[in-house]
Amino acid sequence: MSGTPAAAPPLRLVGVSVSYGARTALRKIDLSVRSGEFVALAGPNGSGKTTLLRTVLGFVTPNAGRVELFGDALESLSILERARRVAWLPQEESPRDDVRLIDYVLYGRYAFHGLLEGDSEEDYRLGHSILEQVGLADRADDGLLSISGGERQRAVLARALAQTTPLLLLDEPTSHLDIGHQLDLLARVRDLAHRREVTVVAALHDLNLAARFADRIVVLSRGRCVADGPPSEILSEGLLAQVWGVVADLRREPRTGMPYLIAHHLTTAPRRPGSGTGFGPVHVVGGGGAGAPYLRTFADDGYSLSVGALHLLDTDAEVAEALLIRGPIEAPFAPLGPEVRERHRALLAVARAIAVAPFVVGPSNLANLEDLLPYVRTTPSFLVSRPSIAERDFTGGRATQVYQQLREAGAREVTGMEEIVRELRALSSGPPTSSA
């Protein structure tokens, strides 16, 4: 770009802080982007990625610190001068007018036109070559509203490229695209960065995309920069747990050698030593909300879970659904039917442990207790006895009878959740009892 010293970094932030009212969006960010680099800004929603981009564009004024574009302080540049150095691809641009693509792309030439200057032949040549770069060469005369969403985002990219700036900012450019178009768009942007020495800074919340395409990932968390470096160096399971609050496996893609992640679940509760990730399935029998606290606690502890026959609209059924726990569901208030009981027994058969929550037993769910009998002999099982079964028995004494049989068959009577948690921990950390 003319007049910009080659030595100055395309983008430099020194101690930049931004607040919106009382909320601090960015805290003392230091960042220097080298020429031709593809930098991904990563971080959870609200971590400050978009604010950082908007600050660089001059849409947001920092409370402290300075932003430099190619060595010049941002505020010393006019809006026109900025437009000749930085272009921006927003998350989604919703055009309202059916403009021809080529005309739309040439909108990006605004900063290069005089007051009465029309689009020159040279502009048109540039526009067509850019459309070719984004794979829309044959759509130049099509209307902007008549092309698909994936093509439109490429057209928006073409408009930004028409500014022929040495620095390109992208704000979640792929969040509305399907996987094919995501890969296509980012591959084009990366090629551009490497072939034409365009520097790219992109907010990307998909870490796998960031790891695959970026030369460098800058991780923001609550407005702070918490990691900065090549994807293979900075991505770790610890970082994911710390910044995103997820438990994930970090693997290496055999073909590209790039790290990629498989996120499992939230780390909502701090992981206790000895708790058994992956142990299970632990089967919970409940109903009417009695099982919900057990399901939540066990899910947080990282056990795989199944749940005993429940009725549709039952509180426990809803909790199980929210936690993605499998279990057979009967129609509301109906006695458990043969099919549902069959599926329940199938789950019991593979369970590594069974927890029976203190649920209220009536004629419609008595079968849940009866079906347990064969399994408590071989599977570690826990019956919660507070409140006592007598208080929860609405079957005329039948439930109390079955409870007695379960105890005799080997089920352990426990006073509450803590005891089961302890027992499960012992089970999961001990030597595997079977190969199941």
Partner: protein, 350 residues
């Protein structure tokens, strides 16, 4: 869908030709009947224009005066006011990114009405009503535009707040007008006549002022096509491409207020021209504001002139307020356009 590689300038040329024809044809119509051929000769200033007719030379001279001193000024005023309203409507629709924005929705015309009502009700400037009425109406329109601008320069100046401020101002001003009419019912008939618009004040001096203002503001407005194109993509996108959105917005609102003000000052309130004309242009020449702005001026001119001619055709002896006719045609036509728009395309691409 493939958009045709249209030549919008050719379309604009065609509209200019239509304006010229419309002006000529309009000169045949008036409260006094003059045979069309004679009117044409008089218009062209041919010697012995009345030759071949049984008209006395005296009457022929009077006809010449009618054509040149009554009809032509009225026609020119219709062209100017229509063009002013058309280009103002296009500007405001683009500035506010809203297909319903026009000088009326935003209260600029209402501001003009308040100015006029003050003249009628308080008998201000009785010495020279022909001067003070337009002057006050003009000031009222500009003042409203400036009030909207005050919001534009504040930090609350988003498109939404601007638009809603305009709408709120329009309501407020109509309440003020109602109060003024209650306060002095004697002025109410004049005001209500004025509210419906009229070309009756036309004269060459009036036309001269109007042409002068419109030439300046219209030319300046037409230079903002690129900015408006980018602003349709959102303020942030426009800014990232180099448009100083805030400054451009201020200039556009100011220029549109001036342009509307001059139309309102001399013709009163004429509805629907500013609203409909840009939509007509978008349908025939596309959505590029470089063509929508001048195109809306030309379509507005044809529209208002057509309304004047229609009024004279159906009711040759009395001059009905022209705003009645623009509304009669404008409202159904606008609804027709709404239903004709391409399926699935948003309002903006009417």
């Amino acid at each position: 869908m493939r958009l045709r590689r249209s030549s919008p300038w050719a379309l604009l040329g065609a509209i200019v030709a239509i304006v010229a024809v419309a002006v000529t044809l309009s000169s045949f119509l008036g409260t006094v009947f003059i045979p069309p051929l004679t009117a044409l000769r008089l218009l062209l200033g041919l010697p012995n224009a009345c030759a071949g007719t049984s008209v006395s030379p005296d009457l022929c001279t009077r006809w010449g005066e009618i054509v040149w001193q009554a009809r032509l000024p009225e026609i020119v005023l219709a062209v100017i006011a229509g063009a002013a309203l058309g280009i103002s409507g296009a500007t405001l629709q683009g500035t506010f990114r809203n297909p319903l924005a026009d000088p009326f929705l935003l209260g600029i015309s209402s501001g003009g009405t308040i100015g006029a009502a003050i003249v009628f009700d308080f008998h201000v400037g009785q010495v020279a009503p022909d001067l003070f009425l337009p002057l006050f109406a003009f000031i009222g329109a500009i003042a409203t535009g400036v009030a909207i601008l005050a919001v534009a320069v504040s930090r609350y100046g988003t498109v939404e707040t601007l638009l809603l401020t305009g709408v709120a101002l329009a309501s407020l001003l109509s309440a003020v007008l109602a109060l003024l009419l209650l306060y002095n019912p004697s002025g109410s008939q004049q005001v209500s006549y004025w509210l419906l618009g009229s070309l009756g004040n036309a004269s060459w001096p009036v036309d001269g002022i109007a042409v002068g203002v419109l030439l300046i503001t219209g030319t300046l407005l037409s230079l903002f096509g690129r900015e408006l194109n980018l602003m349709q993509l959102g303020g942030d996108v426009a800014r990232s491409a180099g448009v100083d959105v805030r400054r451009v917005r201020i200039r556009l609102i100011l220029l549109a207020s001036l342009t509307t003000g001059v139309a309102v000052a001399f013709t009163g309130i004429i509805g629907f021209v500013g609203l409909v004309s840009p939509h007509v242009v978008r349908r025939i020449a596309g959505t590029d504001y470089r063509y929508v702005l001048p195109g809306s001026a030309l379509v507005g001119a044809v529209f208002l002139l057509g309304a004047r001619d229609f009024a004279l055709l159906v009711y040759p002896t009395s001059l009905l307020p022209i705003g009645i006719f623009t509304a009669f045609f404008g409202a159904p036509f606008f609804i027709y356009l709404l239903f004709r728009r391409r399926a699935g395309s948003p309002m903006g691409s009417l």
